[in-house]
């Protein structure tokens, strides 16, 4: 299903669509408020962008530095070329330790690799411990947002789901009550967990340590109980020095949810005695992306989700309409590289308003990359022949001023005299909900020639 079709379905439920738009706009407003408290906001963005660009341009160097330092700290390092390898490595670690159950905190990389499906297929039980992710796991759904994965669900629906899955009181959808219910049911899993998995927000090359940011403390709870901590990290997550971290920590939560800082910013440096830390460093197409001149800076992304909250299209189409783990503007510039056939429509799922680029804490020129991807999509022949034919005819008319004047005159004549059904029909998407402009008697050029030229 195309993004446009999926959006139409989302918009059919007008109340929900409006609520979704307003809920995310509220987060954007909270972000604006936080931005207002930091006089050096734009300077932070400049630094954050420059450090990431520097790191990405010498990624091989920093990856080796990270590995060397992490190994020295007693962390085990694994390299995964793709999702399959990543999943096999995780399974291998669990198998070796004879562990059947994994408690996970939110990790978009493991979503990208479809780790849960893979592990469950191999008899390993996976418990998502982030509240949003847990809700989705119980409801067999995919996340629709990278920071607020269940933002598309209303609390009544969560109440009904918990009633079925966690035996909560019928009809009780009090958020506090439901959160407690989730917490109580998770507590048992935490206590008994032998292995815990997290993502990585920042890997620090200089120290070989890494940082995980959460609001619920679930990552820490899982990790501290378990004897094995597995952390999945995309190769782009590195920053060179510990000192650089403050810049990103100040930007991340403010951009993401409008909080000054995430509730938990957990630093992992070396395993406790008798425990293990494994970091799986994942490429999965990132190095190919890094090689693309117009698009490599998309890898600066720190996954704050601000571009989703601000995007007027995302807010009105919902995350699932993008049909990929990372939806919204940033998703639309990552996915065409992953699968051009499946995601060719995503660069077009934008009005190119540019709000995403201005909100981005690491200054990715998202809307310009959307524009560039559009050029790639058509160059590879991935738009429908109807659209292409239409655009080619348009090109011919617009390239020929006399033809254009004649065509314009004809269009105005038709609009003025044709019966409504000839103008408003299913081949005219403009006219489905909008009137056509009222055709004037003469064009500007006709007026000018008559009144001004050679006088």
């Amino acid at each position: 299903m195309s993004h446009a079709e999926a959006s139409d379905i989302f918009l059919k439920n007008a109340d929900r669509a409006q609520w979704h738009d307003q809920a995310l706009w509220f987060v954007r407003q909270k972000r604006d408020l936080q931005k207002g408290h930091i006089p050096e906001w734009e300077q932070l963005r400049n630094h954050a962008s420059a450090i990431k660009e520097h790191t990405l341009s010498q990624l091989d160097h920093y990856l080796k530095e990270f590995e060397k330092n992490a190994l020295q700290n007693g962390i085990k390092i694994h390299w995964a070329t793709d999702a399959q390898e990543h999943n096999e490595i995780v399974r291998g670690i669990l198998k070796k330790a004879k562990i059947q159950k994994l408690v996970k905190s939110k990790s978009m990389l493991t979503e990208e690799c479809h780790l849960n499906t893979y592990l469950e297929k191999h008899g390993i039980k996976v418990i998502e411990s982030d509240l949003g992710e847990r809700i989705l796991q119980l409801d067999h759904q995919e996340p629709s947002h990278i920071v607020m994965p269940a933002i598309h669900m209303k609390r009544r629906e969560v109440g009904e789901l918990f009633e079925k899955e966690l035996s909560t009181e019928p009809g009780n959808d009090d958020p506090q009550y439901l959160t407690n219910a989730a917490r109580n049911s998770l507590r048992g899993h935490f206590v008994k967990a032998e292995a815990a998995m997290t993502g990585v927000n920042f890997g620090i090359a200089e120290t070989g340590g890494f940082v995980v940011c959460t609001n619920e403390g679930n990552a820490d709870m899982g990790v501290h109980h378990a004897k094995i901590h597995i952390a999945s990290m995309g190769i782009e997550k590195l920053i060179p020095k510990k000192d650089h971290l403050a810049i990103y920590i100040r930007l991340l939560a403010r951009s993401a949810t409008g909080q000054p800082i995430t509730t938990y910013t957990s630093h992992f440096q070396k395993p406790e005695k008798g425990k293990e830390i494994h970091v799986v460093i994942v490429d999965n197409g990132r190095s190919e992306h890094l090689g693309k001149k117009e698009f490599w800076t998309a890898l600066k992304c720190i996954r704050c989700g601000a571009c989703m909250n601000t995007c007027p299209v995302y807010r009105r189409s919902g995350g699932h309409s993008y049909n990929y783990t990372i939806p919204g503007p940033i998703g639309s510039i990552l996915t065409p590289r992953i699968d051009m056939n499946k995601h060719a429509d995503l660069p077009f799922a934008s009005s190119l308003c540019g709000s995403c680029s201005d909100v981005c804490p690491v200054k990715i020129n998202i809307h310009e990359q959307l524009y560039q991807w559009r050029q790639e999509v058509t160059a590879q022949g991935k738009i429908s022949w109807e659209k292409e034919a239409l655009l080619k005819i348009t090109s011919r008319v617009l390239a020929n001023p006399r033809l254009f004047q004649r065509a314009g005159k004809m269009a105005r004549f038709v609009l003025k005299h044709a019966p409504r059904f000839l103008v408003y029909h299913r081949l005219n998407p403009w006219g489905k909900a909008r009137e056509m402009p009222t055709p004037p008697d003469q064009s500007f050029q006709e007026w000018y020639n008559k009144n001004r030229r050679n006088t």
Partner: protein, 251 residues
């Protein structure tokens, strides 16, 4: 005031030419009232944006080369559309990047940008007694930076707003969302019709709920989209391009 010798060319974008000739006329008259001698080169047409934004930039070579030929010799080119100006500044195919283009790229202005930055006028004498909602067209806002977008930090500035403010009687309404996109987006308006329409409806509601009688903008394309919705839904609000307001006010 412009130097007497300054040669200014007016570009009236294709859809304005055909469907909103009055916007072209108001722009011309307004510039003349401000003491600018304006030329309208014949056979002008399109900037190529509908194609470029649809992924067919490579098919705009003929269109853009015609545009450059037509406007290369002017000291300044002015257009009542920020979007078309941005297209010429940013999306002309590489094959055409020569001296003429470099000059044109730096000399092309959206109307209110030209009045503010080249004519150095930030206050106009005139009167227009209406409640007006200013829609910030995205390409003028985040592309040409004719105002500070709400996402960025720093001192606010807004060229079009300042001009409107200076007109006696204009009451600019405050909006809940000061610079959200209207959803036109060129071919986006037909390829993603559902979202486009919803975005437009939400913008109109914002203006309407704050008592705007008129929605204005520096881009006619946003207004064409909003007008289409207003007319279909028979809403008691109308649209006017900023050139029309400023020129009418100065009569």
């Amino acid at each position: 005031m412009p130097q007497k010798s300054m040669k200014v060319g007016l570009f009236v974008p294709c859809y304005i030419d055909q469907f909103y000739p009055n916007v072209g006329i108001h722009t011309l008259q307004l510039l003349e009232k401000l003491g600018v001698e304006v030329e309208v080169p014949p056979n002008q047409n399109c900037c190529g944006q509908p194609l470029a934004n649809s992924g067919m930039e490579r098919n705009t070579i003929k269109i853009c080369s015609h545009f450059i030929q037509l406007f290369k010799d002017y000291d300044a080119v002015v257009s009542p559309s920020g979007s078309c100006v941005l297209q010429i500044k940013e999306h002309v195919p590489k094959e055409l990047h020569d001296e003429n283009y470099s000059k044109l790229k730096n000399n092309i202005y959206e109307l209110t940008e030209f009045i503010s930055d080249v004519l150095k006028i930030d206050s106009l004498r005139g009167s227009f007694t209406h409640r007006v909602g200013l829609h910030q067209s995205c390409h003028g806002l985040r592309g040409l930076r004719n105002a500070k977008s709400s996402e960025l930090a720093g001192e606010p500035f807004a060229k079009a707003e300042k001009l409107l403010y200076s007109i006696k009687g204009v009451k600019l309404v405050e909006l809940d969302r000061t610079d959200e996109c209207c959803g036109f987006g060129g071919t986006f308006s037909v390829f993603e019709e559902g979202v486009s329409v919803q975005m437009g409806k939400d913008r109109i509601k914002d203006h309407e709920s704050h008592g705007a009688e008129i929605i204005t903008a520096t881009d006619m394309s946003c207004l064409m989209h909003l007008e289409g919705l207003i007319k279909r839904n028979k809403q008691p609000i109308r649209i006017m391009h900023i050139a029309e307001i400023l020129n009418t006010a100065m009569k």
